[in-house]
Amino acid sequence: MTIADDISVSRADRPERRVSTLPAKTILLGLLTSIIVVFCVLPFLLVLAISFGRKVDGAAWVWDFTFDNYQRFFVGVLWPDEVTFLYLQQLGFSFYFAVIASLLAVLTALPFTLQLTRLKRTSQAMWLVFIMASLSLSEVFIVMGWDILLSNNSGLPKLFKETGLTQWLKDVGWFQHLRDWGLANPRNVKFKTSDFATILTMSYLVWPYAVILLYPALSRLDPSLSEAARTMGASRWTVTRTVTLPSIRLPLFGTTLLLFVFLLGTYVSITVFAAPNKHTTAVAIYSNIRGANLNAPFGATQAIMLLISASACLYLGHVFNRRSEVR
């Protein structure tokens, strides 16, 4: 509707000659609108409708209008006899991994991108093409790669063992601490499953996005500002803290927020690298909808709750942005 409204308003201001091209434009816009409705709005409404459905134990689910699934999300299926915050905990871990991984990606991409903008134009282009190309690797490939790199016989633990690092850790007694933290078995160090492997893979996954999103803002940075500050006697760190960072505050924040929302739905990295006590809402959604128990309504409920949480974060980010702009 809004698109159509815009067209009629702008048509009034335009010269007569352009009016003749409007039907084609209207058709195109109408087509695009219907594509968005059919492929975006309708599936979303379907998920919303299914989330009110009811699961029949031992069979599938049926259409209904019940809030039981939403109640279950907050307090568990046995409420009021018993309360569990299992699903809130899973949502919490969705946030935990997404926040840390997006921050890590942005913080490591920032110095890299800064250096990148100081290179020659041709080298910049080559780096950007290389980074863009790495985006063509799917999550499954990346996880598979890290899985091998962290495996006992072919990866980092093998390196630990062959270089004698494992033996050294055992000799000085630190190996026991690693075992206590779940980073070793009696034979060698192990990195699967661990927060370390999960966050590493998730950061790696979005790192190219971080570079590409930061690049425009950083390449527009005026070098004369920091040069002026330097000539006035400010140290390198002071310049970064008081000149560079404040001037890219908004893109920095926007990038982190975008990557965070993107990472909220990570599935493969979590299933492979995270311990089951830290599994997230995305994993729970899958195990309900596909998996063995065919509980699409509860899966849909969790998807809606994840979406609401992500939207809330985006909204808060927007408010925060506007406030800092006013200031």
Binding site: D57, A60, L86, Q89, T193, N277, N295
Partner: protein, 356 residues
């Protein structure tokens, strides 16, 4: 102009649709049937060894349909049938998915057992009686077995050995799904088996025992390939895995060995089910009859690695061939509890895993 184009397009679309619906009776005349099985090595073996033998014996051509597995296929079937399609004439379902399909209704059709005489070779447990009569004929069976790395650990003799932290700290690979087997192993080892699974208190007691195993589990796998890689890579040194695949891996020289502990291994089985609304009931019955023949059961054991559903004495399998795919004792999954109490069991299981 654009309207005219759209109309032409619509017309040709309708014509195409009509042609495809008209085409199906034509194929029916030459006797064919579409059969679903789990994609990959499994389906390929069927296409290479079983279907050609069936076509030779009956003259009925087989079109192989790829299923991802049982439970996901049930979702696909449900959606397809709701949309008025029949994705395959025969599906391969594990028992729990078959019971669900039967309860959901209008997905799998009742079978005429008088046309599937060879089904009498199977134990009656493998011919499924649904609400509307017999709805599934056993196809083959598979074991989820105890496996270990013979280079790293001594042969475990009981599932209880896995609880020994001195031997298996952070070293096991177990199934992640609540119905993957650990419930059944634990119930058979420390409790009264399936019976304990029937009450909520029993389920909680089993889960408390499983919680004690958590420090020893390094991998909770969902995809078969995860466990395969972890055994090959030495990330885990023991756990549960499919008997036939473990034997194949051992033949390829990988450090894995399946064993039957004194409580036994988990035996699940697949059934052929006729899709409701399929007009190939007669061809389907002929195929089910064919696959229930002891000779074909033995063929599948040799070529696909599945356990036969007929008594070993009816087949010509040697002891060595039989032990490659089967063994004793067999633990049967607590299907009834998994189905009737699934929401409670799943949430309790997830809670157990999520507790730190």
């Amino acid at each position: 102009m654009s309207k005219l184009n759209r109309r032409t397009l619509l017309k040709s679309g309708v014509a195409g649709l009509a042609a495809s619906t008209l085409a199906s009776p034509l194929i029916a005349q030459s006797r064919s049937v579409r059969i679903g099985s789990y994609g990959g090595y499994f389906e390929n073996s069927f296409k290479e060894h079983v279907y050609p033998a069936f076509t030779e014996a009956t003259g009925i051509a087989v079109e192989s349909i790829t299923q991802p597995n049982s439970s996901d296929w049930l979702v696909t079937m449900q959606q397809a049938v709701a949309a008025g399609n029949i994705p395959t004439d025969i599906s391969l379902f594990a028992r729990d998915s078959m019971i669900k399909a039967s309860r959901i209704g209008e997905l799998i059709a009742p079978l005429d057992l008088s046309k599937i005489k060879a089904a009498s070779n199977l134990d009656s447990y493998f011919v499924f009686e649904g609400n509307e009569g017999p709805q599934g004929v056993g196809a083959m069976s598979w074991f989820s077995a105890m496996v270990f790395n013979p280079n790293e650990v001594e042969t475990p003799t009981s599932w209880a050995d896995f609880w020994d932290t001195d031997r298996f700290e952070a070293s096991l690979g177990m199934g992640r799904n609540y119905n993957a087997g650990l419930f059944d192993f634990t119930a058979a080892t420390f409790f009264d088996g399936t019976e304990t699974m029937m009450s909520n208190d029993g389920v909680i007691a089993i889960l408390e025992k499983i919680a004690e195993l958590k420090p020893n589990v390094a991998l909770w796998w969902t995809a078969e390939s995860q466990m395969e890689q972890s055994m090959k890579n030495g990330d885990v040194v023991a756990g549960q895995y499919y008997l036939d695949v473990a034997n194949l891996m051992a033949l390829d020289g990988f450090p894995i060995k399946p064993t039957f502990p004194k409580e036994g291994n988990l035996q699940d089985y697949g059934s052929w089910c006729l899709t409701a609304g399929s007009d190939k009931a007669a061809e389907a019955a002929e195929f089910m009859n064919f696959s229930s023949d002891p000779a074909i059961q033995a063929l599948m054991s040799r070529k696909i690695g599945t356990a036969p559903l007929v008594d070993k004495s009816m087949t010509d399998l040697t002891d060595e061939e039989f032990n490659f795919v089967s063994g004793a004792p067999a633990i049967r999954p607590a299907y009834e509890a998994y189905l009737d109490n699934e929401t409670f069991i799943k949430e309790s299981w997830d809670k157990m895993l999520a507790a730190s």
